[in-house]
Structures are given as C-alpha cells and as structure tokens.
Symmetry: C2
Amino acid sequence: MNATTGARERLVAAAQQMFAAQGVGATSPRQVLDASGVGQGSLYHHFPTKHDLAVAAVGATVDDALAAARRDLDPGDAGTEDPVARVVAYLERPRDALAGCKVGRLTSDQAVMDDDGLHDVVTAYFVRLLDAVAATLREAGLPDAVARDRAHAAVAVVQGGYVLARATGDPDAMSAAVRGFVALLRTPAPTEGAR
Amino acid sequence: MNATTGARERLVAAAQQMFAAQGVGATSPRQVLDASGVGQGSLYHHFPTKHDLAVAAVGATVDDALAAARRDLDPGDAGTEDPVARVVAYLERPRDALAGCKVGRLTSDQAVMDDDGLHDVVTAYFVRLLDAVAATLREAGLPDAVARDRAHAAVAVVQGGYVLARATGDPDAMSAAVRGFVALLRTPAPTEGAR
DNA sequence: GTCTATAACGCGATAGAC
DNA sequence: GTCTATCGCGTTATAGAC
C-alpha cells in the first residue's frame, strides 16, 4: 500500500463496483471519481476517456469471473473427479442473484455493445466459459455436439436465473431454475438415440 | 388512420421500438419524439413525464410478449394436445436472438429497476409466464414442485439464450441452449424418485 | 501526478403562443 | 392538442495552475 498503489487501482475498483451495480452506460466518470476519492485530473490522467476506464474495469471483472468458474470446474478445487458433479457445482455455486451477473448484464448495456473493445471482452468471457463447461462434459463421455449444446443450456440457465431473480425480486427464482435443470441433467440418458 | 389515431399511438409505437433497441434509460424523450414525428409539446401533453411514456410502452410490449407465449402453450394454437410438445414449441419458437428479449433486457436497465411502476410490469410478465409454463407441465402429470422448477429452467434457458447470443454475436448460441435443454426435457424420467 | 475551473453538449421538463 | 423556445442540470472532457 505505498503511494503508487493509489489512484489507478482505486479508480478501477470503484468502477468495477459501480458498473456491477448500475451498468457502464448509467455510470458517469464523475461518480467513479467521487466513489474512489481521487481528483478529477487524476482520472483523466490515468484514463483519458471513459472507454479506457471501462476496458480496465470490465477486464478485471471478467478475469475474476472466469477464474471463479474454472475453480468450480477444476477436479482439484471441486474435490471430485466426476465431471457432471463439477458442472453441477458450477451451477449450484451461491450467487447474489438479485444483483445480476456482473458480465451478463453488460449484454444489454448499450454503452458496452456499441464499444468494440468492450464487446470483445464480454465475448471472450462467454466463449471461454462455454468452452470450459463443454470440455468438462466431454470428460463425461458426451459427444462434442451434445456437450456443446448442454454447456450452452447450463450457462444459459445461470444467466436466465439471474434475469428471473431480478425480474421477480426473488433470489429463489435462480435456485428453482438451477434445481430444475440439474434434476434433468442427472437423469441417466436412456442409451443415447433410443426413444 | 384518422387524425385522432395520431400522436399518442405513434409515440407509444416509437417508444416500444427504441426501448427494445436501446433500453429505457438510454432512450431520451427527444429521440422518441423525433422517431415518432410529433412535436415536443405533444409528447408532454400525452405523457407528462418519461415515466408515463415508459409505462405505456413497456405495458404494450409485455402484453404482446405474454400473448405470444400463451399462443405457443395453448393446445388449440399449438396444434397438439401433448403438454411437453407445447412447452418445446414455446422454447423453439423463432426469436431475434441478437436483439435480446424485449422484456428480459429491462431487468438490467437501471431506469426500469428504480421505477416501481415499471418494475411491477416486468415482474408481472415473468410471474405470469412462469405460471403458464408450470401449468402446462402439470398437465403432463408432473408434481407441482417439479413443474415449477422445470418451468423456471425452461424460461431461464430462453432468457440466458438471449444473453449468450448477444454476448457471442451468434444467434445459434440461443438455438444451442434450447437444443441442449429440449434434449434433456424429452428423455423420459426413469420413474420419479428412482436412482 | 494531482488539483480546480470550466467548456460544450444533451438531458428531462416547462412556458406560453397558436 | 400541437407547436417553438427555453430553463436548469449533469454529462464527458479539456485547460492550466500547482
């Protein structure tokens, strides 16, 4: 915590919080500046435009989120070798459902979607997350196409769970969605291809 | 299309389009006004505040969306008595995935969530949608708790599918999520309670 | 490297003529 | 019921002292 640990880091941390709570477009540089406690000149010294600040803050948030998902999916951290159990661990991880997904919410933030740099960061997050889940499901012996579709469904359930929880104001809406999906995920497939 | 069919309807229609494309908070009354072709005074005559305009436009959008879902889930319109097939019809209905859900997106719009009136309209939409899907699944003989969880999962897959499609820029991300979920939904349960 | 002051612009809303 | 003109404020960003 020396003098050089100051402004830049505080600005990014404050921006991450504000963006998670309000979105990027709805957050003014001025708000970030006030929350961080630095002066106006400092902000524009470290980040010439709002875009630069947003790329730094969103990038940090994406790195955190991806690391958390990989912990759930990693056999060592999850404490089980069973691939399906690890995907279930990812699905059932406690989440602040009413807050919404720090990354997923950016998807309906016009300021993010209109900014190529920011959009790319969000795209990379979901591509990597989907790849990680699909890879885990392939370990369970699923064919690639099935693993990919199921990974999309799994990640969609979490993202949709956030939407339902926020819409209804009830965090259990997320739990219910995950419960419903996990129950289906665990029913042993009746010999792939059979009806 | 007489003279009295003018301003108000045009304003609401324009607002619905702009809100769907940009969100409520990111759309200024001035933009709606320009898109609708009416004058500034007319807007504030019919809708004293932006809130009033938003309630009218979001309400109309929600009514449309709910009616569409009920058509998918209705035995008559769906053309099949099989309840699961009707839920699948809802899931597989063609959607403009890259545009995002007109209602679900509002969930991460601060201007909507901070406005009690608007929030209530969004809440009512999802409560009714979830009820309709759960009721259909109960027709299939599922116990209430299972039907509710599975309905949450189904609606979450669609909402999450929108998020994935927008994030990756690929409309097929939505199709993949739905495919993955429908495949699981169709595997016959191995006698409820058995392992 | 950090500060204060301020510019230029668009916002939501109002006034008042027609 | 519709128009134009305008108010007061907050925004993103810059200027220039320290």
